[in-house]
Amino acid sequence: MSPIPIRDTLGMLEDNLERRKSVLPVPRRRALGWTKGLNLPRGGERVLYTGQMFQIVPAINAMTDRLAKMEGSWMANYFGVARRLNRWVNLAGVMARGDPQEAREYSGFLRNIVSLLRRSGVEFGYLYEDDLYAGALAHDEGLDDALRAHAEVVFRTLRSHGVKEVITVDPHTTEMLREIYPKVLKGYDLKVRTYLEVLVERRPTPVKQLGTSVTVHDSCIYARREGVIEQPRELLRRGGVEIREVERSGRATQCCGGPIEMLFPERSSELATQRVGQLSQVSKQVVTLCPLCLANLRRVAPEDVKITDVSTYLAKAYCPSTPAPAAADLSGAGTRAPADHGTPVEA
């Protein structure tokens, strides 16, 4: 059997980061389509920083499905050719076209976050094309030279806009900007907080008690490295959501398998199945705090288990009106209006 070749896969990631400033470059309309109609001011001392994670995940999903088919097949032998070709043609743009409906839903999560911050009186700008991927995968795979060079580009870009504080929306970007960049960059002094930490401080008043119950799948990074455990729970509880804790929760959370989905899709899927089993015994409504956890758990979840991003519930509880619909041309396909807050919540 030929497993996914480690050298060529990581080589491609490294090349992409250097040449295209992302491990999985997505087209501009994918990266920025979610901002349409929101009138986010450009730049400023405090910015919302997505690190493109919610925008990349639908593409990662498409790529993972393709890699899973290659694992153990003759196609795995052609990765060396693919890497050479990828230096000239953005293969991710060709291979990893994500599902348009999924892309719209992930855009909806970002729009929820904007609504929640605005509702809480937080003022912030956005960097648009300069909202760069933070380099988490390069860091995790030990591609230290590529990471350092990329981190310098990201920090230089943030500084050129006069940014002093960033509000992050996912665990991977948070860890990179808060823990890793200070270790690899000289003079790095940005204040970094997740939107969940910002919201808890602001104590927004709920507009609705949702009267439902969920279980929370904690992100390993948030729970064991970043101290983000109670904040989402407090916000959910105030919004009338009862939390049923799975045995392995908080600092004892069990990984969704996502970190190895690129190189070992089968093993990643086994771990996700195990985790969905644990969670669904406690509740059929599961809340995630990370777009990668969401994608990996959803991929294996039975139909009666509803897994969605925490922002779906929070927006329903705290925002009086639905946010402006995500751009219809976001994915370049179809004009169906997106769901207002992502997956429906059973109240």
Partner: protein
């Protein structure tokens, strides 16, 4: 077993590698959601012994680690397990896989 006596020192120089703090209690192996036999303490032992070939033979295990820190969070000796694994990836990437210096 061939021994490369410079291996532990070279890895230690990267700053993040502290496998010598390991007391070999086995908590990490017991807690690993992947349940891989040699992981991670046996692997660190190979490094400390300078058994380079054994480290290279476990390339797949090294890249399989989730870096979830379940083991590290419960390590009684305070070993930076995830950073150690990452350091091994950097080492393998540079010396075995030709990575970490982009070819143009």
């Amino acid at each position: 077993m061939k021994v490369d006596p410079t291996l532990p020192d070279r890895l230690a120089r990267t700053g993040g590698f502290n496998a010598s703090a390991c007391i070999n209690c086995g908590s990490c192996t017991a807690l690993c959601p992947l349940g891989m036999g040699p992981f991670p303490r046996q692997l660190f032992r190979y490094v400390l012994l300078g058994a380079r070939e054994e480290v290279v033979r476990h390339t797949e295990e090294i890249y399989s680690c989730l870096l979830c820190k379940m083991c590290e969070d419960n390590c009684p000796a305070g070993v930076h397990i995830a950073e150690n694994v990452r350091t091994l990836r950097t080492f393998l990437g540079r010396e075995e896989l030709g990575l970490a210096t982009s070819e143009v």
